[in-house]
Every structure is written in structure tokens, then in C-alpha cells.
Symmetry: C2
Subunit: 344 residues, 2 copies
């Protein structure tokens, strides 16, 4: 990964030059007000509906503590982001996995659960270039989820850190834009500028946000405005758009190399996702796998795999392989997939 270090350094200087007394002092828990206002404006909501924190995961943890009690039902896509699964489990939630299809979660199964009386408080989804699968949820499924949320009274948590990293095709509307009264939207500058800044954000309906702001103030007073002011300078210099373009140019050939080498090397019954952006392609081997042995062989072949079972709510995922393509050169990717094909 290459960071825009000199630009980031310049933005740190500008942030202090422009607003040191605010940036270096305590302040409200919602985050650096001008960045809050910028994010709110980009979403078309009031800035009081936005909170910025030390990465979006920390905000999700706080949201969970505000909204969920032990035993509350939460729907997740299966597979889903393993760190989120950890947070839901830690909160004692009753996590119900909804299998992910190539166009999003299995609507029939969601309907079945709801018709049987299962009542989730939250449905956590990553609709754009999902982690770990790479799947993009279709516009139809986005609308269907909103309709179900309205009918059955649950909220949707839409986690969108990869949304702006689309290399081909056009954006689908965010779920938040379709129903801002039902959806908690979260994103981050980690994938767009640098993770080490730890600047993520969340937008939500007002009542949830009021509780969240108070909870976060009680927990850590406020996040660092310095990093947030730096991000705002980066945006105002026009460097965020520029950086996103640079990243797309960097990642697109890596995705292409990944998809090409999967086509060359993998055979049925294996299938894989074919995303137009993001960080991940996923490979489903569709055959029984002995995970410890697979990992041993992978290690011998110089490959580091993430245990696929960590992305599933329970008992599945042994034949699921997440393939992150952004941190490797195309040649490394081709070589890695060729080696992987040999050991599976």
C-alpha cells in the first residue's frame, strides 16, 4: 500500500494552522464540527445525525451497546465481516446468518424467518463489495430489505467502507438514501486515505444518534479532532478524489489479475465472485475441506489464508476462501492463485 504521505503531512500542518484551538482542545463527542457538516451535507442529512469516531468499528461497538440487549436477534449476511460478528456475539446477541447469494442476502429465507415470528432489531449488511465475499447487493434486494424493515420494524446497519472504490460500472443507490429513517449508515476514510488516521463515521436517525452521542461522550469524551481536521483539509484540497482515482488505477489491474488467474486455474465445482471494485474476491470450493490440513499445505506453499469459518455465524465456511487483492502486485496474485489451485 502506498499512502499519500506528503499530502497527509501538509494537511496536518493546515489543520493546526487553521484551527489549533479547537483541534487541540476537548469538544463534543460527535466529532470535528466542520467535517461532521461536510459528511452530513454529502448525505443530505442534518449534522446532528452524524458522529465521527476512532474508526467505524468503534462506533458500531458503541451503537451495539446503546441498542442491543443480550438475546436480541440480529440478522447478518453469511459470510460477513468477522470483526462485526465478534462484537454482536460479545453483546450476547442472537445472531441469525442469512446466506449471501451473488446478488445479496437470500430474501426467501429472510421472509421465512420473519413469517415465523423471528424479530430482529438490526440487520447488518455490507451492500457494496462486501467483506469478505466481494458481492454487491442488487437494487431490487436493497429495496426489498427497506420494505421488510419498514413492515417488521427493524433497522438496517449499512456498512459501506468500499463503496467509493468501484473500478467498473455504476453505483447503486445506498440503502440509507432509500430510507434514512430506517438505516444506520457507516463508512470510513481508512480505505480511502489511511487506516492509521482512525477516522470513521456513522449517520443514523435522530433518536438513535442522540443516545449514541451521549454514550460516546461518557465513554471517551471526544475522538481526536486533529485527525478529523486533517481529513477535512485533504478533502478540501481535492486530494480525496485524486487519491480515490489513484487507488482505483492501482487496484483495478490487481482485481483483473485475480479474476483472470481464477479462470485459468480453478475448476468446477469451485465458484468465485466477480466484483467490480472493493478489496475482495471470494472463492467457494464447494467441496469438503479439512481446514487444518489446507492451512498447513497453504503455509508450505507460502500462502497465508484467513480461516473462512470466522466469517460465518456457526459451523460453516470451511470451504470459503477470502482473496484480498489490493495489497499484492498482479504477478504475485497470479502466482498465488496458481499455487492455491494446486493445493486444493
Amino acid at each position: 500500500v502506498s499512502f499519500a504521505t506528503s499530502k497527509i503531512s501538509e494537511c496536518a500542518r493546515l489543520a493546526l494552522a487553521h484551527d489549533a484551538p479547537v483541534v487541540l482542545q476537548y469538544g463534543p463527542s460527535g466529532g470535528y464540527p466542520p467535517l461532521r457538516a461536510h459528511i452530513a451535507q454529502s448525505l443530505g442529512v442534518h449534522e446532528s445525525q452524524v458522529i465521527i469516531g476512532q474508526g467505524s468499528l468503534q462506533l458500531l461497538d458503541s451503537l451495539i451497546r446503546v441498542m442491543l440487549s443480550p438475546g436480541d436477534v440480529v440478522f447478518i449476511e453469511e459470510p460477513t465481516y468477522d470483526r462485526t460478528l465478534t462484537l454482536f456475539r460479545r453483546a450476547g446477541a442472537n445472531v441469525v446468518g442469512i446466506p449471501l447469494q451473488p446478488d445479496g442476502p437470500d430474501l426467501d429465507l429472510i421472509n421465512l424467518h420473519l413469517q415465523q415470528g423471528v424479530r430482529p432489531k438490526l440487520f447488518y449488511v455490507i451492500p457494496d463489495f462486501q467483506n469478505p465475499s466481494g458481492v454487491v447487493m442488487s437494487a431490487q434486494k436493497r429495496q426489498a430489505l427497506v420494505d421488510l424493515a419498514r413492515k417488521y420494524g427493524f433497522q438496517i446497519v449499512e456498512d459501506s467502507p468500499y463503496r467509493l472504490l468501484r473500478f467498473h460500472g455504476s453505483d447503486l443507490p445506498s440503502i440509507f438514501s432509500m430510507a434514512p429513517d430506517l438505516v444506520i449508515h457507516m463508512s470510513s476514510y481508512s480505505k480511502l486515505i489511511a487506516p492509521g488516521l482512525r477516522v470513521g463515521w456513522m449517520a443514523s436517525p435522530t433518536s438513535t444518534m442522540q443516545a449514541l452521542l451521549k454514550f460516546c461522550e461518557d465513554t471517551y469524551i471526544n475522538p481526536s479532532y486533529f485527525n478529523q481536521a486533517l481529513v477535512l483539509e485533504f478533502i478540501q484540497q481535492g486530494w480525496l478524489e485524486e487519491n480515490i482515482s489513484i487507488l482505483k488505477e492501482l487496484y483495478r489491474p490487481r482485481l483483473e489479475a485475480m479474476l483472470a488467474s481464477l479462470s485459468e486455474n480453478m475448476e468446477p465445482p469451485a465458484v468465485w465472485s466477480k466484483p467490480d471494485g472493493g478489496f475482495f474476491v471470494s472463492l467457494e470450493l464447494n467441496k469438503p475441506v479439512q481446514v487444518p490440513e489446507l492451512f498447513t499445505r497453504a503455509k508450505q506453499a507460502g500462502l497465508i489464508l484467513t480461516d473462512g469459518r470466522g466469517f460465518f455465524a456457526s459451523g460453516k465456511g470451511d470451504s470459503f476462501i477470502r482473496l484480498p487483492f489490493c495489497a499484492l502486485e498482479p504477478a504475485e496474485i497470479s502466482e498465488g492463485i496458481a499455487r492455491l489451485a494446486k493445493i486444493i
Copy 2:
């Protein structure tokens, strides 16, 4: 408050110039390794016993989540830091207040509780220039607490953000230095450089720290190394010591003005603390006070008071007034105390 803005800006530049690939990337939850090592060395412990976070309050919240279950007994000094009280209550702890005397918490009462079978998991203390009272715990009471902790099997949480801001006299040993196997020590750069950097830290025995590091990784992956690397540069330039000297020179006359105007304006039965440093003097009116009326009169006199009851575990504090002296000029302090004397 005046911040060392240009030095902070220079340190931001240096942090990125020296270590951008580490500073801008994800990393272990314990914090920026070189700052961790620096703090550990200053305490004489292994760096694996130190965690740096987004302010020390956030680390305390995480510690509470790792260590306490609802109903667990926690001892606190009474009065104590109101934000800590909020965290203990939120965790469902059974908070037992131990009245603070001019040399620290009431040992007789602690002994009485312990002899009656009350078993705290934690005793939270601020031994140096306590918030809100200004009290410094005597060396004898520090040792007595350590002895009791060892005998009855509880841990001491020593919160020390003001320790280095001593204007007169000599330091007493930290409780941590007396029993690093029993004490969780926490501090911060908020009062020494700038709160907005949100860099606080905690040191603890190894077993507690292992659980805490895992918990924090699950919650927010890692804190911002950028701010932490900036702090380390500030230290390495010699600017932390210099800044502490500047702050002492700035705050000392403010404390003196506070104590002088209390002597001039207040009469028995009112008593007040006479600290040698820190941020706070406290005034105990020792007479019944109608809080809403006092606040109304204070507001009319242009004074902003913090509700003293927030610093007490239950039902007390209406005649307790915290007097922060660091953010006001000596003349403002004298004028304020004169006005306060008239309305009480």
C-alpha cells in the same frame, strides 16, 4: 489555555517523516510500539504491560468491561471524578464511596467495610491532586492501601493525569511503583500537551493486560498511531519537559490567587483544600445548600458551577464546590471567588 501549536505541528511532520508506513497503517491494539516502549521504560515494566488509547477514559471503560460484572463491588474516593462514576454505574457495579480526608480516603471506613466482608474487585483512586478535590494521598495511606489490596485480593486503579503538574514540594511514590503486581496505573498527555490529541495510557499486571489488549483489538483494531508518534517526537525533542515547566509557571500563580482569595473571602465553617499542584481546589461549605438556588445566584453573578453531587456516589455533595483554577487569569480568579463568597 495555550497550546504549543508550532511544536505540535513540527512533531506531526516528524512523525510522518520518520515512520509513515507504520503510523498510517493498522497495527497492534497496544499502541505505537516506540511510545509504548518509552512509557514502559519510564515505569520499569515490560512494554507488553502498557496499552495506549484514545484518552485514558476510553481505556478505563475497556478495563471495566474486561474486569467487572454487574453487582461487583467497586470502592471509590468520595468525591471522585464524575466521568469514572458514570462508567462504573453503567457497568452495573455496586459503587461504595469512601470519604476523602485531607490526606486521602478514610482508612477506618475501608477497614470496617472489609472486616464486614465487603469484597471490592477494584479501588479507584486519584492520589495526586485529585479531581475534583485537589487532595494528595499521603505516603502512609498509599502503603496502607497496597497492604489491604494484597490482604483482601483487590486491585487498585491509580489514575494520575495531574501527577507531573506539581508546583511546590516533592513527589510521593506512585502506588504503582509500590506494588506493580496489584495496581493498574493510568495517565494521559491531555494535561501535559493537549487533550485534543486523545493520547492516554494504562499499565497493568500482565494477565489483565492480555485480556485488555484482545478486548481493545476486537473493539477498534488499534488507536491512531499518528497522534502517538507525534507525542513521542514531542518527548524526544525535549519539549514535554519544557512544556510541563511552562504550564507550571502558568498555573502556579493561578493556584496562589485561588488560595489567597479563598483566605480573604471565605469564613468558617467553609474549608478548602490547599494543593501543591494540579487543576483543582475544592471548597466544602459545611452548611446546608439548596443547589438549584445556589446555581441560579451563581449564574446571575456570572459564575459557572459544576453540580457537586455529580462527584459523589449518592445523596451527597450539595455543599461541595470544585474550583478549577488553570483556565483563568489570577485577577479573574480573585474576582470570581469574591463573587462566590457573596452568594453563599
